[in-house]
């Protein structure tokens, strides 16, 4: 006779944990990036691991200290580290060094449409397709984040005092304009339709600009810094961490001004530390400070499914493969769950 573990959910693993692969690495998970149906993860010991369906993932030593940032350029992984190196890593694990800044950290990396970008201190280094030498864009303060628009024609650089928006004209010259708002701006993203630019701030708030007319506004009311945010379902919602709920701001139609966000609650009063959209769905995965992860529809009375039970370490990354079939979850203590989302019979 079996004990009824369902009466004690805290002792029970979720079906996702039971059928997936769990690693207890003890190394902080920094972030991850999706390349097709593979997911690359950067760690606090300078290694990365590449997760592919049905394969084991071996650590690849990339940086000497920490993988500070990870992104992709086509089918390649790009990373920056506290060893001052900006690296390209193929899905087969071959590493090539793009640039080396010595004792200065490479804080942010991104790429789009053949253009490759990293930042170190106050400078953006931009390699245009086929060029060996980067262009250098200098800024007055340390860069908090960088993002290309969908076509790779505009590059947003967040910093102290606002965002510098670099725009490429048709003769491939880059010109800058400023979007100003007092305070220090960190992560920056464009909305998928390129209509909005959103930053998170040193204060517990977000700021956004509507690029058409440069009107701007603040989204506040958070209990902590907003470190994770993303647009869902094209540009229907902006989902955000930093509160005890997953706060989802409506960005369709007239935008968020004067409208209330939808707040998705979770049991236990834990801070939301990571949010990740479910590709092509009006739904998100939410990671909490105790390591638990939930899947919710963005509705006023939402259905919520628990994906991972708690690990007592804050969720630092969630990635879903492009086909929406598998999910990877990582936390500060180095626990990883890599599992299929659908039951075998529902595939």
């Amino acid at each position: 006779m079996k004990a009824d573990l369902n009466k004690f959910p805290e002792l029970n693993k979720t079906k996702f944990e039971n059928r997936g692969k769990e690693l207890r690495l003890g190394i902080p998970v920094i972030n991850s990036v999706v390349i097709g149906n593979s997911i690359a993860v950067g760690f606090g010991d300078g290694t990365i691991r590449i997760f592919k369906a049905g394969q084991s993932s071996e650590p690849i030593k990339a940086h000497n200290g920490i993988v500070l940032c990870i992104s992709k350029d086509g089918d390649d992984i790009i990373t920056g580290g506290d060893d001052g190196r900006f690296l390209r890593i193929s899905l087969n694990g071959e590493i090539s060094e793009i640039a080396n800044f010595g004792s200065r950290w490479v804080d942010h990396v991104t790429a789009n449409n053949g253009s490759l970008v990293c930042t170190s201190g106050n400078n953006v280094y931009l390699w245009m397709a086929g060029r060996k030498e980067p262009r250098i864009f200098e800024h007055e303060s340390t860069i908090g984040g960088v993002a290309f628009d969908s076509k790779g024609r505009r590059l947003a650089v967040s910093r102290y005092g606002g965002v510098t928006l670099w725009k490429k004209d048709y003769s491939n010259k880059w010109k800058s304009s400023n979007l100003l708002w007092k305070g220090s701006h960190n992560k920056v993203i464009f909305s998928p339709d390129d209509r909005y630019l959103v930053t998170s701030m040193q204060e517990n708030q977000l700021h956004f600009w509507r690029l058409k007319d440069k009107t701007d506004s603040t989204m506040s009311g958070y209990g902590a810094k907003v470190k994770s945010f993303a647009f869902v379902h094209d540009t229907k919602f902006l989902v955000t961490s930093g509160s005890y709920d997953a706060v989802c701001w409506p960005f369709d139609g007239i935008g968020p001004e004067g409208r209330q966000p939808i707040c998705l609650p979770f049991v236990g009063n834990k801070l939301v530390t990571f949010v990740e959209p479910f590709p092509n769905e009006n739904a998100i995965f939410t990671g909490l400070s105790d390591g638990s992860v939930f899947l919710s529809e963005i509705e006023k009375s939402s259905n919520t499914i628990i994906i991972r039970s708690f690990t007592e370490s804050e969720v630092t990354t969630i990635s879903v493969t492009e086909d929406g079939s598998s999910i990877l979850i990582g936390d500060m203590a180095g626990n990883i769950l890599w599992t299929s989302i659908w039951d075998e019979e529902n595939k």
């Binding site: 902080p28 920490i66 200065r104 201190g121 708002w181 007092k182 040193q202």
Partner: protein
């Protein structure tokens, strides 16, 4: 937050040429079996090379609420948050500031930024001072005064280059600004590292332990810009409501001139000792257990700052005594 999990951060200040680099090189090269990261500034002295040395630009950020006390060091937030993601845990972090830096935004960063406060703690501010030149630096540069005012430890370096009376004079000058700082005499920064690292100087427990080295000071000085200290003692219990009212108004209106405060307070009707310490307008305060048996209950309050004599501190404090 479990304080054992917080990595201690030592802030190393001091004028150019005082000997900060000598000390940093010792910290990095001595065989101590510990893992220390050192955050240096770009414009500092050269000659430090190590895997765990991080270059930083000193960036002072104002928060968008415009509050002076929320001025923080943006570069520190970025680098400390990064270092906390390392797989191998650090035993301590040392932050070097440039000779002209104001220590307040560094200290305030540990109060204001929640991520920094969760994973690290301000251990102590250590100021390296040149025994030969400190007096003239204190006269010419307000930054030198601030660095002494904020210090938990003053490493008085190059004492071999001054005579005994010169040394006493410079020590008296330090004590007049900051009676709390422990003064350590050195030549070539020859000090045992456990005298400057892991001091836990910002914990309230330490406020109870450190007896200030008060001077019988007549509070006369050359000009109003001088940083000085004033202290008050009372054996009459204080009225909590009156004290809170006076003290919060004082910090709100004069917080920019008040650099550091520390105190142990005896409130009427309370069996616990109340301990606090602050940097400008930011305050850490808590009851810290019962008064020791057989010891006289008394309130002690110390201010380090500018223009203290124009704040009616004595009168304000007297008015807080229970009738």
């Amino acid at each position: 937050m479990d304080s054992n999990k917080q990595v201690p951060v030592t802030v190393l200040t001091g004028f150019l040429g005082a000997g900060k680099t000598t000390l940093l090189n010792r910290i990095l090269t001595e065989q101590h079996g510990k893992k220390y990261a050192v955050i240096v500034n770009e414009f500092g002295e050269q000659g430090i090379d190590n895997d765990l040395v991080v270059d930083a630009d000193e960036e002072v950020f104002e928060m968008n609420n415009g509050c002076i006390c929320c001025t923080v060091r943006g570069d520190l937030i970025r680098i400390l948050s990064g270092l906390m993601k390392r797989a191998d845990k650090l035993d301590a972090i040392i932050v070097e500031t440039t000779g002209l830096a104001d220590p307040a935004p560094v200290a305030q960063t540990f109060f204001v930024d929640q991520d920094v406060a969760d994973r690290t703690k301000l251990d102590a501010i250590v100021t390296v001072a040149d025994a030969v030149h400190l007096s003239s630096q204190l006269t010419d540069h307000h930054e030198a005064e601030e660095q002494i005012a904020f210090a938990d430890v003053v490493l008085l370096n190059k004492i071999d280059l001054v005579d005994e009376s010169g040394l006493e004079a410079v020590k008296e000058r330090i004590r007049k600004i900051n009676p709390f700082a422990k003064i350590i005499n050195t030549t070539k920064c020859g000090v045992s590292l456990n005298e400057i690292l892991n001091l836990d100087a910002f914990s309230l427990k330490r406020v109870l332990e450190v007896e200030p080295d008060f001077l019988e000071s007549d509070h006369d000085h050359e000009h109003d810009d001088d940083v000085t200290s004033l202290s008050f003692v009372s054996d009459t219990p204080l009225d909590m409501e009156k004290f809170q009212d006076w003290f919060s108004k004082l910090l709100q209106t004069k917080g920019q001139d008040i650099l550091r405060t520390k105190g142990i307070l005896d409130f009427t009707g309370e069996s616990d000792r109340y301990v606090f310490q602050g940097v400008h307008m930011l305050m850490d305060a808590s009851p810290m257990g019962k008064w020791p048996e057989g010891k006289v209950r008394s309130s002690r309050l110390v201010f380090i700052g500018r223009n203290l004599e124009n704040m009616n501190l004595k009168e304000g404090f007297e008015n807080c005594k229970s009738a």
